[in-house]
Symmetry: C2
DNA sequence: CGAAATCTTGAGTATAATCAAAAACGGTGG
DNA sequence: CCACCGTTTTTGATTATACTCAAGATTTCG
């Protein structure tokens, strides 16, 4: 079931427009982009390591994550995927997937055939550049996470990831008054940070005790943004947002 | 001083040819790619975080690394850059560099202007795809490293990085009879693995004791490749080498 | 040969893991 | 509305991995 979006509904258009102004042809092509839209319930794999997909997935709503598993069964989440992300765009050029992608909350996902994407890229070089840029920002986030996991201790490591989530969620309009929905469990945070669930729990309690966050159920509130940023040594430059306001 | 290479001398051509067969026009363009070649001595930054470079660097010979530094001055090396790599190709699309690149050993580096690269990409879509693919493989390596740093303990973490280095060095002809030059200090390994130098030293001794490596000075020898691969849980799929032999 | 960098060793400490179990929460069905 | 189930969060006690600090040995290179 191919489907189209109105401009303001398609997070991909919004994303590209934050980088450069689309002309009419480009916008038309993106608005008419054939996409198979599916709703996937929580804790389901969208694609698995080893797959050879013929399409890429655009997250339209919900939270997902990219992860890998060691031979001993330990999971490492290498990024959280938010609405507007195309977490396996890489599979357009790399035949075999080297990671899995799974939902964290129920997700609405749009699948776009690689053939369609290739056509789009051949016709519109600026869209090629925009998509390439997206994958480069992803890589930048991986680098930052690696520093986080490799070189920051518990409290700042956790604070840093929370800062990133808030900034990225704000960019897609999912933060209001320093509060947002965050359907990520402590176990999932543990897998993202290289900790155990128990340790994440203790760090969160510490963050609460120091007045850096209020986290209850799936609701996160940041009482003092500057303080949390300091605790997480957070500088949004690595997210490469052109929009200064979103990155602040 | 612009300069050209003969085909077999230019590691970029070799790299792209391992993915697809260049036609005459493409090869011509790459052979005549204007490049400013410079020799940089060891432990020097090639570019720094925060720079807004107008060119990218192609490593022609020597070892370099991509790294970031926390506010407290702790360094995380996020990848080793070997001959044929273009570690800051990203800067073609992302204005501000989010990492530094420094030499580990003396390096011969070719600088290519972004303007030149952009022209190349507009004229030759397959080269665009090839370069894009390069950045995607880099991202894949980041993901694998993140799992390594986040989820593997000392011995296997170290073994894994050594396996990767051997496979990548072999792909560029720098491994002979399971031995290679490895000008990486224990301190640099520590910064890549998220350990301290002291701990890396103890792990290396353990690897030696278990007969997994012989490492003396800048010379590495692998007595039993299968055993080292097992210790490091190493599977080269994430390097996305089309050449099966190189990846084995 | 001598200085600087790198590697190695030892002792004590800290951060985070492990194991186990209890409490709180969220959704479901009666 | 409440009892029940599974999931998630929380707590406690013990252990392991890796860090810190400090100094000595070795290698490298001018």
């Amino acid at each position: 079931m191919a489907s189209t979006f109105h401009h303001h509904d398609n997070p991909l258009i919004r994303k590209l427009e934050s980088i450069f102004t689309l002309n009419d042809n480009e916008r038309q092509a993106l608005e008419n982009l054939p996409m198979q839209i599916t709703v996937i319930r929580e804790d389901q794999d969208i694609v698995r390591e080893g797959d050879r997909p013929s399409r890429s997935c655009l997250i339209l709503s919900g939270f997902a994550c990219t992860y890998k598993v060691t031979r001993e069964g330990k999971r490492q989440i290498v990024s959280f995927n938010l609405p507007g992300d195309i977490p396996d765009l890489q599979s357009m050029h790399l035949k075999v997937l080297d990671n899995s992608i799974g939902t964290i909350s129920p997700c609405s996902v749009g699948f776009v055939n690689h053939e369609t994407l290739r056509d789009l890229c051949i016709r519109y070089p600026r869209i090629t550049a925009g998509l390439w840029r997206e994958t480069l920002v992803d890589a930048s986030i991986f680098r930052e996470w690696m520093m986080n996991v490799g070189r920051r201790e518990g409290l700042s490591r956790m604070a840093h990831v929370l800062c990133e989530l808030v900034v990225r969620l704000r960019a897609v309009g999912l933060v209001e008054d320093h509060a947002c929905d965050l359907p990520i469990t402590q176990n999932e945070f543990a897998d993202a940070l290289g900790f155990t669930t128990v340790h994440v729990n203790r760090i969160i309690q510490q963050l609460r005790a120091e007045g850096l966050i209020e986290l209850k159920g799936e609701r996160l509130f940041i009482p003092d943004w500057a303080k949390l940023k300091r605790a997480g040594e957070f500088d949004s430059a690595y997210l490469h947002m052109e929009n200064e306001r979103a990155a602040a």
